[in-house]
Symmetry: C2
Subunit: 391 residues, 2 copies
Amino acid sequence: MERRFSRSAESTMDSFIMGLVEVAARPGMISFATGLPDNTLFDTQALVRAMEEVMSEDPCGALQYDTPTGYIPLRKRIAERCGRVLGFDVGYEDVLMTSGSQVCFDLIGKMFLDHGDVMAVENPGYLGAIQAYSAYSPDFRGVDIDGEGPDLGQLSAAVGDGARLFYSIPNHQNPSGVSYSEDARRGVAEIIGGSGCVLVEDDAYGELGYHGRVGRTMKSMIPDDTILTGSFSKTISPGMRVGWMVVPEWMRKKAGRSLEACCLQSNTFCQRVIDRFMADVDYDSYLDVLRRGYARKKQVFMDAMEDCLPDTVSWNDPEGGMFVWLRTPEGTDAMRLYERALEGKLVVMPGHPFHVRGGANTIRLNFATPSDEQIADGMRVLGAACRDLYS
Amino acid sequence: MERRFSRSAESTMDSFIMGLVEVAARPGMISFATGLPDNTLFDTQALVRAMEEVMSEDPCGALQYDTPTGYIPLRKRIAERCGRVLGFDVGYEDVLMTSGSQVCFDLIGKMFLDHGDVMAVENPGYLGAIQAYSAYSPDFRGVDIDGEGPDLGQLSAAVGDGARLFYSIPNHQNPSGVSYSEDARRGVAEIIGGSGCVLVEDDAYGELGYHGRVGRTMKSMIPDDTILTGSFSKTISPGMRVGWMVVPEWMRKKAGRSLEACCLQSNTFCQRVIDRFMADVDYDSYLDVLRRGYARKKQVFMDAMEDCLPDTVSWNDPEGGMFVWLRTPEGTDAMRLYERALEGKLVVMPGHPFHVRGGANTIRLNFATPSDEQIADGMRVLGAACRDLYS
C-alpha cells in the first residue's frame, strides 16, 4: 500500500539537534552541544512562589481556556517593555503569545511562504528556525554573516528576487554569537523597508547582553515591516514554553486566526505564572543577575579555551548570549573534531548544519549548559582532540 | 505596497468560536456556547499538590528542555492505558505529546495534505479541527452524521476519490453528541483499512462516557491506518495544554520531525504535573467522579429543557461528553435564535458553521460551562426565544 506524506512532511529537514540531545543525555557525557540554558540560574524559588500565588488567587481561571492570543496582563507587560526597553510603541493587541518562539517561526512560515517562494536566511543561521521554515519548502537564500552582520549585497539580491521573509538574529546570534553593527542595522532597514519582504527579528538572546542590550531593535527602525519574536526560554524557563511575537497591525487579524488554527492558544497557567514572576522579582533586576551569571560563565569558558586549545583553532569573544563560535583550520572538516571529542565523552555541535553553504570548518560551543568543572574537563578533551587533528 | 499572505493564511477559516468567547466574557452573559469544561470539577487541590511535588523533587528538570516527543513516564502511562482501556497495544515511542490536540490536527494536516487533496470530514464536524485542516486547503468532503454514525456511502465515495484523511469523533461527537454504533465502526474500518486513507480518531470525549467508555476504539480495529488523538483538556485542565497522538509505527519518524519543527516540544512542567497528578489521584477513580459530575449536569440541563422549551424544537440525550444538539423547525435559520437569545444575554453556538453543507436549523448547547443557576436562567431565555420565533 502507498504510504504517501505531504510535500511539507517530505521537505521538513532533520535538525541534527534531536539526535545530539539524546547523545548528550548518556551517562558520563559532557555537553557543549545543545542550547540549554544554565539550570543553576533558574530562580526556582520565585517560580514556586508565583505558582502558589496564581493557584491560590484564581485556580479555575489559571486552569481554564483563555483567548487564543494570550493572557492580556502579560501581553500588556510585554508591550510596556517594548516601549521602555526595545524602543518602539505597540499595543498589547499586537503582542501574540505562543508556546515558545519555535511556534512563531512555524506560524510565520505558514502565513507567508508558498512552495518555492524565496526566503533569505542568515548563513550560518539558527537551524531550529530554518527547520520550521523548511516545512513550507521555500527557496532558501543564504546571506553570509561576518563579524559585523549580514552581507548586504546578498540580502539585497534576495529581496530583489522577491524574498517573502528574512529571518535574522541581530543580537548574539545563534550559532555565531555575532551582533549586527549599527551600520548593518541601517543597511538592513534600508533594504527591507517598504520592499514587501517581512523581516523576522528573533530577539531570543537580546536580553542576555552581558552589559545590557546591544544596538537598536530592527522593529524600532522599520516597525511596519518587522515581526519581533521573543521568548522566556533563555531568561526564565524553556520547559514552560512561553514565547510571543509582536506583529505589525496589518498582520494582526490573520496572525490571530492562524495561531488559533494551529494550537488554539498557549498555556494559560504558565503565562500567568510568568506574569506574576516578572512582577514579584522586579524583572529588570532579575535580568541583571542573569546577565552577570552568563558573563561569568562565558569568562570561565574563555579562560579554559585559552588554557587548553592550540593556536591552530580560533574563536570569538561574544558580548552576550550563550554560544562561542570555533573555527578549525581552513579546509578541515569539523565533523572529525565532533567525532574525536565524542570518543572522549564530550559532545559539541558541528557548525555545518547551520549553513546553507560552506561552514565545514566550524563548531558551535554552548557554555551555558556545562558546570565549571565540566567546562574544565570538557575543554581538556577538546584541546587534546584539536592537537591530535591539527598539528 | 503589496501585503501578500500565503495560500495557507488566505485559506484558513474563521472559527466563529473566537468571537463567541469574547461575547460570552461580557458581564452578565450566560454561555451555553463554547467548549469550556466545568470549572467546579477541576481538582485544583490535587493539582497544587502535584505541582509542589514536581517542583520539590526536580525543579531544574521540570523547567528545562525535554525531548521533542515528550516526557517519557507520561508517554508510558498513556501507552499502558491504551492497552488496558482503549483496547490496543502500543509502545511509548509511538505516543507523541503535544500542546493540546489542536496541535495534533495541525500536524496531521501538515503531514498529509497538499493543496487540493481530498479530505473527508464529518458533517456536522468539529469546527476547531476543520479550521486547523483548512490551512492546508484540502478539498473537504462532508460525510453526513446521523444518530448511528457516518453515512458509509459518502465515506466510501470520498475514499474512492483518494481521500488522504478522514477526521472523526466516534465517541460523544462535538458538536452533535452522537457516538458511532458498532455497525458504523465496522463499516468505517472496512472502508478505511488498507485504503491509503488515514483515519484521525479524535478521542477528546472518549473518557467522558457517563457510564464508562462507549464502543471499541477505531485504533484497536485498524491500528496501522489510525492516528488516535487524546487530550487532558476535558479531563484535567485545558489551560495546561497537554494532548497527545498515538501514531502507527510507519509514521513515527516523520511525525517526530514535524512535531519538532512546529514547536520544538510541549510543556515539560505541565507534562510532569499531569503525570504526577494521575499517579496521586488514581486516575480511574478520578474519572469516575468526573463522569458522575457531568452526568448530573447533563440531567439538570435536560430537565430544564423539558421544562422550558416548546415542542417546536427537538434535541438528543447524549451518553457522554458536554454537548446537546438542538434542532429548530425545518426551514428555519437558527442564527435568528442565536440573535434573539443574545438579546436576553444568553450565548448559544449556531450549528451552521460546523457544516460543510446544510445545518442551518441547528444549535450546539454546552451544559458543562454554566452553573445550575445559569442553566435555569439561560433556559428560560432560550424557551422564550423559541416560543417567540417558532409559534
